[in-house]
Amino acid sequence: METRRKMKLGTSDKVILGIGYTVLGIFVLSILIPLVYILMASFMDPNVLNSRGISLNFKDWTLDAYRRVLENDMIWRGFFNSFFYSAAFTVISVFITLLAAYPMSKKEFVGRKFFNTIFLITMFFGGGMIPTFILINQLHMVNTIWAILLPGAFNVWNMILARTYYQSIPKELREASSIDGANEIQHFFKVMLPVCKPIIAVLALWSFVGMWNSYFDAMIYLNDAELQPLQLVLRSILVQNTPQPGMIADIQSTAEMAKVAELLKYATIVVSSLPLLIMYPFFQKYFDKGIMVGSVKG
């Protein structure tokens, strides 16, 4: 294939390809440069960064920013909270979604149309921010983790993906296990879940990443500083420009403080984004698969 393509490449094609690759190269660089800049800036001495920008001289590098960030309790608590919320949300959400998709995948399921309509309506219309907020208040869920775990736990779109996946599994499996005397629950756990690992991986990853990166629900429902997830801690540092007090308490001059605070932002970004950025390549193949499942359409 390769040789044939090369053989047939005319001059005009070469020019077009050249332009195309240049465009792609520019795009790749535009992604790469900000990421590399942040990574390098996080190691800079604050005075050097402030006056000369990035320096490649190792004498100007320091781990000071990382020391300050990693010594901060709020960051660690944020990490811990976020991990706990994301893990709990993933388990609850994926389990409920997988369960609901099972009967909905059966053509003969009585009430399938009715329930389908009930679920689909929620994809098109909702009560909105204020009625939901009032409801959560009345349920006394403010300042509890349930306020951020439960309202979004059942995801209709994910249910459709799981349902589509179930339907691709031969029906003979169910017939075989019912001959063996298994009821639906036994069949689901012993036969279905093991063969559904790819779709479970996809849904779990999406749920985890989604919860890890969101902040709105936590912002309006979790006022208690102890409960705040990482993204809210980051928000106060990066968006509201208020570094955690403990981080720069030892610095005397205000000008110095401002420089260090700016530097801390770079280190904070690196520390908070690295876990997902390192992890995601390992899950790459599952994401690709998930896209394919999604494009089959429910």
């Binding site: 294939m1 390769e2 044939r4 047939k8 077009i16 390809l17 195309g20 465009v23 792609l24 992604i31 900000p34 402030n50 920008g53 409920i96 369960l99 609901a100 009967p103 909905m104 053509k107 003969e108 399921f109 009585v110 009430g111 098109f124 219309f125 009560g127 909105g128 921010m129 204020i130 009625p131 939901t132 907020f133 009032i134 439960l150 979004g152 059942f154 029906k171 017939e175 639906e184 629950i185 990443v209 990166n213 969101s214 902040y215 709105f216 309006i220 993204q231 980051l234 928000r235 990066l238 968006v239 932002k265 970004i269 984004s273 950025l277 995601y280 790459q284 994401f287 896209i291 494009s295």
Partner: protein
């Protein structure tokens, strides 16, 4: 169980008695499998839908939703006649319409370019890199944007100026859309890349043998392979034009850029949760939701027409 049910369903319509039998026999499907999802849906989706009644009343916590005094369409009259509201509505529409216009073609172009790279190793590496920003959180993205664009930030020092971009209403949309492309264009190209990878290689080979140049190959082989996905994606995104998210716009807002950055969802938040004007903000939210539904129904109708009678 299954075999019996199948025999009954396929040839004739089941009677009420058959259905009852099915439910009795398969009670697990209802009580164990469906119930949790159904309960969550009713409590967290349908109860708030009932809560939109607040949009028509002078809500106070003590009297509750059913006991508060009715004010009819007062809130709707109030915001429909307010110039502020019209501005925020236009901000919402412009932000997502321009976002769609600029953001939509780029993933397609990326996928076509990636498809040209025959060396698997290089292509995989590029893909890994351009997907990465998708895993950065909204807060971190907005934090990065604020740092890069700050008066003493790298972009200003590169240009030798000290403009405070984040305070300029005229710069907001560009910042929002450009950073959105930076974050999601690579990731959005996956779908097209996957479809192109599944496209018939034979056809492409034949086109090359016939001496088709690159533009002809793209036009006659590659675009037809992804045409359906392009159409569906465009329509879907067009249908979501009013439901542009809260999180990013809110994280990029400053007091100074509000004239361009205040959109309906952030306005509802400000009026409702910060100012406590529940009725008014619920009315605004309801208005937004209704336009959304109309758009989505229209979109679904179009998809049905294009998709041989099958909607979404």
């Amino acid at each position: 169980m299954n075999i019996l049910a199948k025999k009954k369903t396929s040839p004739v319509k089941r009677t009420a008695k058959d259905k009852l039998m099915y439910v009795k026999k398969n009670w697990q499907l209802y009580l164990f499998f469906l119930m949790p999802a159904l309960l969550l849906t009713i409590i967290f989706k349908y109860l708030p839908m009932g809560g939109v009644l607040i949009a028509f009343e002078d809500y106070n916590v003590i009297d509750g939703i059913l006991g508060s005094e009715w004010v009819g369409l007062e809130y709707f009259k109030r915001f429909l006649s307010s110039p502020d509201f019209m501005e925020y509505l236009m901000n919402t529409l412009k932000l997502s319409a321009f976002g769609l216009l600029w953001g939509f073609p780029i993933p397609i172009i990326l996928a076509l370019l990636l498809n040209r790279i025959r060396r698997e190793g290089i292509r995989k590496k590029i893909q890994l890199l351009i997907y990465a920003p998708n895993f950065i959180s909204v807060i971190v993205l907005c934090g990065m944007v604020r740092m890069f664009l700050s008066p003493v930030g790298p972009i200003n020092s590169l240009l030798g100026i000290d403009t405070n971009w984040m305070t300029m209403p005229s710069a907001f949309r560009t910042i929002y859309i450009a950073s959105g492309i930076w974050q999601t264009a690579g990731w959005s190209s996956i779908m097209y890349t996957a479809a192109l990878a599944n496209a018939s290689k034979d056809l492409e080979e034949a086109a090359i043998v016939d001496g088709a140049n690159i533009f002809q190959q793209i036009r006659y082989v590659e675009l037809p392979a992804i045409k359906n996905i392009i159409v569906i994606q465009f329509i879907l995104q067009a249908g979501n034009i009013m439901s542009i998210g809260f999180e990013k716009a809110f994280a990029l807002q400053t007091d100074m850029n509000l004239p361009a950055s205040e959109i309906l969802s952030t306005y509802v938040y400000r009026m409702g949760l910060l100012n406590g004007d529940y009725g008014y903000s619920t009315a605004v939210g309801l208005f937004n939701a209704i336009i959304n539904v109309i758009l989505l129904i229209a979109v679904n109708w179009v998809v049905k027409k294009l998709n041989d009678g099958e909607g979404l």
